[in-house]
Symmetry: C2
Subunit: 251 residues, 2 copies
Amino acid sequence: MPKSKFETIYRDLKQKIESQEYLYQELLPSENNLVSIYDCSRNTVRRAIGMLAEDGYVQSLHGKGVRVIYQPVAQTNFTIGGIESFKESAARNRKHAFTRVVNFTEITSDERIFRKTGFVPGTPLYYVQRVRYLNGTPLIFDNNLFLRTAIPGLTREICQKSIYDYIENKIGMQIVTSKRTMTVERATPADEAYLELKDFDFLAVVTSQTFNADGVMFEYTQSRHRPDYFCFQDTAVRRKPPAGGTSQKLA
Amino acid sequence: MPKSKFETIYRDLKQKIESQEYLYQELLPSENNLVSIYDCSRNTVRRAIGMLAEDGYVQSLHGKGVRVIYQPVAQTNFTIGGIESFKESAARNRKHAFTRVVNFTEITSDERIFRKTGFVPGTPLYYVQRVRYLNGTPLIFDNNLFLRTAIPGLTREICQKSIYDYIENKIGMQIVTSKRTMTVERATPADEAYLELKDFDFLAVVTSQTFNADGVMFEYTQSRHRPDYFCFQDTAVRRKPPAGGTSQKLA
DNA sequence: GCCGATTTGTCCGTATGTATC
DNA sequence: CGATACATACGGACAAATCGG
């Protein structure tokens, strides 16, 4: 359970919106009412509301109220986003997740790796390649580089289960920020070997740099997704244009 | 120019980070120092810092300080994300943007459109199809549906220039939230007709619902991108797992 | 290991401004 | 106009993490 008040409120409101206790296009109780409901300060409810707005669940209307803009969606594909992991998506879709480790080696960063990943030359790394299966179908070909000094004692067996479990629960390191880039690329022979691509000759590729609680990048990953099961979700909140400009988003 | 203090501080810090006045892995001045620097309350600097953290520019370290994790990147492709529009990307890359309107009609939503977009049957819509060129090369095939009641007086000519300019500066409507989904799809005959796909037979597809300041969805858009110029950027900040679960992101 | 200084995290109460109705 | 509701900003209090002596 969350220790902080704002998070408790955030989760409670989120759950109530997801269960449609508050309906799409409806207004939430006013901030002052929420203050009474949750017995807290206005700052605290505003913080929770701000987080819901970032999630694309609500939108504040100056002088009117806070409108619910969450709509339940029918999940067809395998969705990723800022919220879920491979295992969680599998669980939500009531499907079975399995991981096969096809490479586990220790390497050292060089100039070429540095330019691509940001790991300075000479940095000791783990190089892990894994194939992710959902209900027996290979969907993702993961290529990871991990900072060896940040993840002592990593083994092939741990990679086969869950590296993040190990990192968070065994080592006690916290994962904080992940910067991602998505592109579309042609399939390589390795992709074809590990994923059942049928007649697909292209992939969705997610490249990410991940930082721990010390602000140190400890992971560089390229995830190569079978295109027919790939679905990335995102919510963007507009900020005012930087003066003199025209519009700012998806013009 | 921004009227609010937190936004002024946010922009100033952001600019200083981008210009590497504050370097990668360095700590910002402490919050109390920033309070002195900007002559404001701690809440206000914390708000600015929080926004920078969402942007993936900094990361707060409890008891230590705020670390810069921004790294300048070499822009190769045409990048999109929560920040830029087609026109702005073009400007940043010093390239020329051009739009060709290939369809401009008025339609009414029906059951099929409703299921796909969320516009309830009977809703009057504009149906706009446009091809976006960068330096003379067709890169994006845009399919828009706009709520007619929200955008009175839309014409083909306006679509050829910038609909968002019209919406924001002529009508005075504010764009607030955009929910997006990204997938990879096979090219259709229309795609091949409008984009110079060479031997590509697939596309990156971004589907978005956009809400105005009244919390009303006024736009549903499907943007079909030529794969070789497509690059989507994103930063995710981790939140604590929902209790009982294992890990949460990209496990 | 303890203690104190520094720094970030959470929370509160209040005041004022602005938009809506 | 007044009442309501969100937006910005301030100042203060205490907790928790870090670091140096």
